[in-house]
C-alpha cells in the first residue's frame, strides 16, 4: 500500500445549532483502502461521510485531501474534489427527469466537457459493467431499488473517481436486492477502488473491508481489522453493538 494518505481527518467537529453531532473525529484513508463505518443510528456516521466531500461544512477541525485543507477550497477546487470523490446515497437520488443514460452522461458532459459521443460510450460501458445496459433508455421510476442503486453507482463511476463514498447504500432496499448491489461494490473493491462505506451489512464489512471503524455518540470509539472488530472487540460499546447485530442475524 502506498504510504501517502488520500484523506486525513483531524479533530473534526460538526454542530447543528446546539446539537453536537461529531465531537472529535480523527482518521486516515489510504489509497486503495476499503473502510466500513458501523455504529448505531444517530451516531454521526452519515454526517462524517458528508463532511468528506464538503456536502456539510465542518464546524471545526480539518479534512485534508491529498494534504490540502478542503475548507479552503475555491469553487473550482471543490468541483475537482467532488469529481475525484464520488458519492452513492441511501435513497439513490437518480434524476427522475432524465433517462438512465442521461443520468450517467450529465456530469461527464457538463463538468469534464466530454463530447456527447464519448460520454455515451462510457455510460454504456459502465451500465454493462453493473449489468443494466438494456435499461439505458428508461426513466429511473421504472427501475427496482437494486437496479436504481446500481445505476447510481455507475453514475458516480462515470466521473472516473479515485474514491467512492457510500452512505448506507443498501438500507433502502428490499432484502432480496441487497445482494446484487453488494456484489457490484465488492467487485469495485477488488479492482482497487478506495471506498468509505457507511453500512449495517456486517457480512460485507467482514469480507471486503481493510478496516472497520465503530462510531457512537460523535466519536470513533474503535478502529480495527474486521476479524478483530467482530471476533474480539475491545470497547464495551462495540461489544454491545456487535452482539446485538450478530444476535439479530
Amino acid at each position: 500500500m502506498p504510504n501517502k494518505p488520500l484523506v486525513e481527518v483531524k479533530k473534526l467537529k460538526k454542530n447543528y445549532g446546539d446539537t453536537e453531532v461529531l465531537k472529535e473525529i480523527d482518521g486516515t484513508v489510504m489509497p486503495g483502502q476499503v473502510i466500513c463505518v458501523i455504529g448505531p443510528s444517530g451516531s454521526g456516521k452519515s454526517t462524517f461521510l458528508r463532511c468528506l466531500n464538503m456536502l456539510e461544512k465542518p464546524t471545526s477541525g480539518q479534512v485534508l485531501f491529498e494534504g490540502k485543507d478542503t475548507q479552503k477550497f475555491s469553487e473550482e477546487e471543490l468541483t475537482t474534489l467532488r469529481e475525484r470523490m464520488g458519492m452513492v446515497f441511501q435513497s439513490f437520488n437518480l434524476f427522475p427527469n432524465l433517462t438512465v443514460l442521461e443520468n450517467l452522461k450529465l456530469a461527464p458532459i457538463r463538468v469534464k466537457k466530454m463530447s456527447d459521443k464519448d460520454a455515451e460510450e462510457k455510460a454504456l460501458g459502465l451500465l454493462k459493467r453493473v449489468g443494466l445496459d438494456e435499461k439505458a433508455n428508461v426513466y429511473p421510476d421504472s427501475l427496482s431499488g437494486g437496479q436504481a442503486q446500481r445505476v447510481a453507482i455507475a453514475r458516480a463511476l462515470a466521473m472516473d473517481p479515485e474514491m467512492l463514498l457510500f452512505d448506507e447504500p443498501t438500507s433502502a432496499l428490499d432484502p432480496e436486492m441487497v445482494g446484487e448491489v453488494l456484489a457490484v461494490m465488492k467487485e469495485l473493491a477488488e479492482d482497487g477502488m478506495t471506498m468509505v462505506v457507511v453500512t449495517h451489512e456486517m457480512g460485507f464489512a467482514k469480507e471486503v473491508a481493510n478496516d472497520v471503524w465503530f462510531m457512537a455518540d460523535g466519536y470513533i470509539l474503535e478502529k480495527n481489522t474486521p476479524n478483530e472488530m467482530f471476533d474480539h472487540p475491545k470497547n464495551p460499546r462495540t461489544k454491545d453493538f456487535i452482539s446485538k447485530i450478530i444476535g439479530n442475524v
Binding site: N93, L106, A107
Partner: protein, 496 residues
C-alpha cells in the same frame, strides 16, 4: 460564480424595468399634468391638443348612459349632448371616458380628464377639491318608491325612520342623512343596484334626481316617483361640470358656452332626445340583444388575464431569483414586495396605479389595469415558483453537487425541470383565478365583463338577469380553461 450570477440578475432586472417604462410612458399629455398649476393655461392646453376629455359614469339615464348604435356601444344623454355643444364652441373634439361615479372627480384631480360631467351637484365639500362651472341644469330631487307602497309614502315626512337608499358620495345621500329624521341611509355605488334593492324591499325609498326618477318610472311599471319636498339652495343642487383646481380660463370659456346653451333652452331638448334613446334601448331587454356587450367584456377579461399572467410570470421569476440570491438586499426586497402585495387588496392596487402613479405618468385605464394585475400576480407567481423549487427533494441537489456539477447546472438540468412539473399546474390555476379577480379593473372604467354587465343593467333596467348571465359566462370560461389545463397537465405527466 457568485458575481456572475448577480450580474445576470441585474441585467435581467434592468431589461425588465426598461421594458416596463417603454410600455408605460405615454407620449401625449403626460407632462401637462405636472405643470398645470404653474400658470393657468388650461384653456390654451385643451385648444392646443384639439380635444377635451370628459369623465363620466354612464349608468345614470337620462344624464348619461350607453346605447348600441349600429352594433357599437356609445355613451349618450343630456350631459354628453351639452358637452358636445361646449366642445364645438371651444373648437375642439370631445372624448368621453367612462368610469364608476366615485372615480370621476378623482379623474379630474389627477389629470385623467379635463372635465367631470356626470350629473354632479356642486356641493360646498366638493368645491374644496375641484372647480365647478355654472349650473347647466337643475333637475330637482325626488324619491322612487314601490308602487305598492304608494299609500304609505306620500312625502318626505312619511319617510322618517325608514331606510333610504342613495348613491354613495352624492347630494341625495347627504340630504337623506341630514333632512329626514331618523332615516337609515344605505349607500351603494350604482343606481341600478339601488333600484334592485328597492324592488326587493331592502330599502323603502330611493333618493334620486327627478329626471332619472322619471326615466325609471317610465321603464318600470312597479315604481312610483314622489317629490322630495326638500327646500334647497339652487346653487348646490343643480348639475355642474367639475374641473381641476386652477382651471379658471377653461371654466370661464365653458361658462360662456353654458349661458348660451341655457338661453336657447337646449337642455330640455337634449332630455327629450335622451328619452327617445332610452325607448330604443329598452325596447329589447333580451340578453341576446346585448351579446356584443358581453362578447366585448369577455375579450377584455381574457386579454387582461392573459397579458397579466405573462408579465406576472416574468416578474415572479425575477422575484424568485432574488429570493434565492445570496444578496441579502435582493432577498429582502423580494420578501418585502411579496408580503406587501399579498397584504393589500387588488382593488386598492388598481386604484393606486391608475390614480396614484397617474399623477406622474398618465396611464390609460386598460394599461393601468394590466399593470396592477400583473404586479399583483407577480407576487403570487413568485410563491408558486418558490414552492415548486422547494418541493424538489434536497437529495437531488446533493447528488448533483456530489458529481461536481455547478449550482447553475444543478438548477438548469436537475431542479428546474422537476420544479416545472409542479409549477405548471399552479400557474394554470393562477390564470384561472386572474380571469375572476381581474374583474376589479371595472372600477377604473376598463370595459371588462363586469363593466359591461353594469352597462347592460343600467340600459335594460333589469337588475338580476345580466348578473346571472355574467355568472354563467365566468363559469363557462373558467370551466373550459380548467379542462384545457388539465388536459395539458395530463399529457405532461406521461411525457417527461
Amino acid at each position: 460564480m457568485k458575481v456572475k450570477g448577480r450580474n445576470v440578475l441585474l441585467t435581467v432586472m434592468t431589461l425588465c424595468l426598461s421594458l416596463l417604462f417603454l410600455f408605460t410612458i405615454q407620449p401625449s399629455h403626460s407632462i401637462t399634468t405636472t405643470t398645470a398649476y404653474a400658470a393657468d393655461n388650461s384653456l390654451q392646453r385643451v385648444k392646443a391638443r384639439g380635444k377635451i376629455v370628459m369623465a363620466t359614469s354612464p349608468d345614470y339615464p337620462p344624464y348619461e348612459f350607453q346605447v348600441s348604435k349600429n352594433g357599437k356601444s356609445e355613451v349618450v344623454g343630456m350631459d354628453v349632448d351639452i358637452m358636445k355643444q361646449v366642445a364645438k364652441d371651444l373648437g375642439v373634439k370631445l372624448v368621453v371616458k367612462s368610469m364608476s361615479f366615485s372615480n370621476v372627480l378623482v379623474a379630474v384631480e389627477t389629470g385623467k380628464a379635463d372635465v367631470a360631467m356626470s350629473g354632479i351637484n356642486p356641493t360646498p365639500e366638493r368645491r374644496q377639491s375641484v372647480d365647478f362651472s355654472e349650473i347647466y341644469y337643475n333637475g330637482g330631487q325626488s324619491f322612487l318608491i314601490n308602487k305598492t307602497d304608494a299609500g304609505k309614502y306620500t312625502s318626505k315626512a312619511s319617510l322618517a325612520h325608514k331606510i333610504i337608499g342613495a348613491q354613495t358620495g352624492t347630494l341625495q345621500y347627504n340630504l337623506a342623512k341630514s333632512k329626514i329624521p331618523g332615516a337609515q341611509v344605505k349607500g351603494m355605488d350604482k343606481n341600478t343596484d339601488l333600484v334592485l334593492a328597492l324592488k326587493t324591499h331592502k330599502i323603502d325609498a330611493l333618493g334620486i334626481e327627478t329626471p332619472s326618477a322619471e326615466a325609471y318610472v317610465k321603464n318600470d311599471p312597479d315604481l312610483k316617483m314622489i317629490k322630495s319636498g326638500y327646500s334647497l339652495n339652487k346653487n348646490d343642487t343643480g348639475s355642474a361640470m367639475a374641473l381641476k383646481k386652477g382651471s379658471g380660463t377653461l371654466v370661464a370659456a365653458i361658462n360662456k358656452s353654458i349661458t348660451k346653451i341655457k338661453a336657447k333652452g337646449l337642455p330640455n331638448q337634449y332630455l327629450a332626445q335622451a328619452g327617445k334613446y332610452m325607448k330604443v334601448n329598452t325596447h329589447n331587454t333580451s340578453m341576446f340583444h346585448y351579446w356584443t356587450y358581453f362578447a366585448k367584456g369577455i375579450e377584455y377579461t381574457l386579454l387582461i388575464s392573459a397579458i397579466s399572467v405573462i408579465f406576472g410570470v416574468l416578474l415572479g421569476t425575477i422575484l424568485a431569483l432574488m429570493r434565492f440570491s445570496k444578496s441579502k438586499i435582493f432577498h429582502a426586497i423580494s420578501i418585502a414586495y411579496v408580503e406587501f402585495v399579498r397584504g393589500t387588496p387588488l382593488m386598492v392596487q388598481v386604484m393606486f396605479v391608475y390614480f396614484g402613479i397617474g399623477i406622474v405618468v398618465n396611464l390609460p385605464a386598460l394599461l393601468s389595469g394590466i399593470i396592477a394585475v400583473s404586479l399583483n400576480s407577480g407576487a403570487y407567481v413568485e410563491e408558486i415558483i418558490r414552492g415548486g423549487i422547494n418541493s424538489v427533494d434536497k437529495g437531488q441537489t446533493e447528488a448533483s453537487a456530489s458529481l461536481g456539477l455547478a449550482k447553475t447546472d444543478t438548477m438548469r438540468f436537475v431542479v428546474l425541470p422537476q420544479a416545472l412539473k409542479n409549477i405548471w399546474p399552479a400557474l394554470g390555476n393562477e390564470f384561472v383565478s386572474l380571469v375572476k379577480e381581474s374583474s376589479i379593473v371595472s372600477i377604473i372604467g376598463v370595459t371588462d365583463l363586469i363593466y359591461q354587465l353594469n352597462i347592460v343593467r343600467a340600459d335594460t333596467y333589469r337588475g338580476v338577469m345580466p348578473v346571472f348571465v355574467a355568472m354563467i359566462i365566468y363559469f363557462v370560461m373558467t370551466f373550459i380553461l380548467t379542462r384545457v389545463l388539465n388536459y395539458f397537465e395530463g399529457r405532461m405527466k406521461h411525457a417527461k
